[in-house]
């Protein structure tokens, strides 16, 4: 039992995690490719044309996964950041740093694909709907996190300052979401209701879930690649990184 515990903590050290991440990356890429191909096949070739929305609805196979992931990654990022702050794990703070750009990318993708979908469906690129607005604010939070971390030169200080910001952000996300929602209902902004989604065909749902899994695996693979680079950059003064780099040449 105690053996297993020690094994887990072993990977909290960047040196032990670096090769492990290297081994895991191809697997996650492969999974992302498999899920992605299956999801796109279901989404584009099998799923029926939507009765109301025509072919344009197919953008949800990217849009919905991107929105889910953008929110989920923020939680994961705050989790790692909090862990790093509480226990002073260097690796988990690096994980948070590595996740932020991917989360921001998904938030942006979600807004962008949403706009592409909104133009034919609602006749407008943008409405001040509660969901759109909070997704936009989520993007702002990501940008703030990235900007803060890149403005601080000392890596340890950047980690911990970023962690505090991520935790404050996580506490604020529900407050922001509900305030935006109430604001929206008061203003009677859009006449379109996103919440009443028509019952979805099963193939559509499966396609969407597979695409979500593909995006998830992609996010893990990319975050691991980024964290490996961060490890090399931060540990460059150590012997093992030097040995690693010489071995590659």
């Amino acid at each position: 039992m105690s053996n297993r515990v020690i094994n887990w903590f072993k990977f909290a050290s960047p040196q032990a995690f670096y090769p492990l991440a290297g081994k895991m990356i191809p697997w996650f890429w492969a999974l992302a490719a498999v899920f992605g191909l299956a999801g796109l096949y279901l989404g584009f070739l099998v799923a029926p044309t939507d009765a109301q929305q025509g072919e344009g609805y197919r953008i949800i196979f990217l849009h919905v996964p991107a929105s889910w992931l953008s929110m989920f990654i923020y939680l994961v990022m705050a989790f790692w950041a909090g862990l790093g702050l509480a226990f002073n794990f260097r690796l988990s703070a690096m994980m948070a740093t590595a996740l932020a750009p991917t989360g921001a990318l998904f938030a942006f993708l979600s807004l962008w694909t949403g706009a592409l979908w909104g133009k034919p469906m609602w006749g407008t690129w943008w409405v001040w709907d509660a969901r759109l607005t909070s997704e936009l604010i989520l993007l702002f939070l990501y940008v703030g996190f990235i900007a803060l971390q890149s403005a601080i030169d000392d890596a340890r200080r950047a980690d911990r300052a970023g962690a505090i910001l991520a935790l404050v952000g996580v506490v604020n996300v529900p407050i922001i979401y509900f305030s935006v929602k109430w604001w929206n209902t008061l203003h009677q902004g859009s006449s379109v209701s996103l919440t009443k989604s028509p019952s979805m065909a099963t193939t559509m749902l499966w396609g969407m879930l597979l695409c979500a899994l593909a995006c998830w695996m992609y996010a893990i693979a990319v975050a691991l690649m980024r964290v490996r680079t961060i490890i090399l950059e931060r540990e460059r003064h150590t012997d093992w990184v030097r040995a690693e780099l010489i071995g590659k040449e």
Binding site: F140, G144, L148, R157, V168, G169, V180
Partner: protein, 222 residues
């Protein structure tokens, strides 16, 4: 405990009074921003009445944000902050005192000035009262939440712009309920619900913000 807060507030007010130009320039920033809007969108009273709550609140947000870097920067530069952090009293309480002092020199004057500017926008008497009340209720939250951002960006290059990136998204709920209260009065809905929520935000903000702020200050001081 109370004595400590009072002492910090008195000290910060004393220092602020020696630099009155800082307070006044933030106020004039508020006035100028608000006055720019009629020039930009045209002087029709109906349009201005509709815009007034949002414009006044956004300008108040920006003016508060402008004065935030001074919250800790001077003390950080001359080493006072380090002494405060070493003091046996909890740093969170000291931060709370500084937040209160910041509100007294930035939020309170804004709230008192707002009705005069509201007149420019042809707001009714009730709306002016609610505007003042909502600013009085809401600006402490701005000082509290802003303190977190000010502490995080302490001594960081490009601090001012960075501060706005960090703090403005967190200000959104305060803006919504603050401007919403005035809006609701203008449209005749009654501002009670908005004001209650605004008070709740302020209580939570002022109560909880000193902790992350103190943690961020300790990180900055390392």
């Amino acid at each position: 405990m109370l004595k400590l807060i009072v002492a910090v507030v008195a000290r910060d007010l004393h220092l602020a009074m020696r630099r009155r130009a800082d307070i006044v320039s933030a106020l004039f920033f508020f006035i100028i921003v608000v006055s720019l809007f009629p020039l930009g969108v045209g002087p029709e009273p109906a349009l201005l009445r509709q815009l007034a709550p949002g414009v006044l609140w956004v300008a108040a947000l920006l003016a508060t944000m402008l004065s935030l870097p001074r919250l800790f920067a001077d003390d950080y530069r001359d080493g006072t902050l380090e002494q405060l952090a070493l003091a046996p009293q909890p740093l969170g309480l000291i931060v709370l005192g500084k937040v209160i002092a910041h509100w007294l020199v930035s939020g309170l004057p804004l709230a008192l000035l707002a009705p005069v500017l509201g007149l420019q926008f042809d707001l009714s008497r009730d709306a002016l009262w609610v505007l003042t009340g909502s600013l009085l209720l809401g600006t402490p939250a701005l000082s509290g939440i802003g303190a977190i951002g000010a502490a995080l960006t302490l001594g960081v290059r490009g601090g001012g712009v960075l501060l706005s990136l960090l703090v403005l998204p967190l200000y959104i709920p305060v803006l919504i309920f603050g401007a919403g209260a005035v809006d609701a009065t203008v449209t005749g809905l009654g501002a009670q619900a908005h004001l209650s929520l605004l008070a709740a935000l302020t209580l939570c903000g002022v109560f909880f913000a000193p902790w992350p702020t103190a943690a961020a200050l300790r990180i900055a001081l390392e």
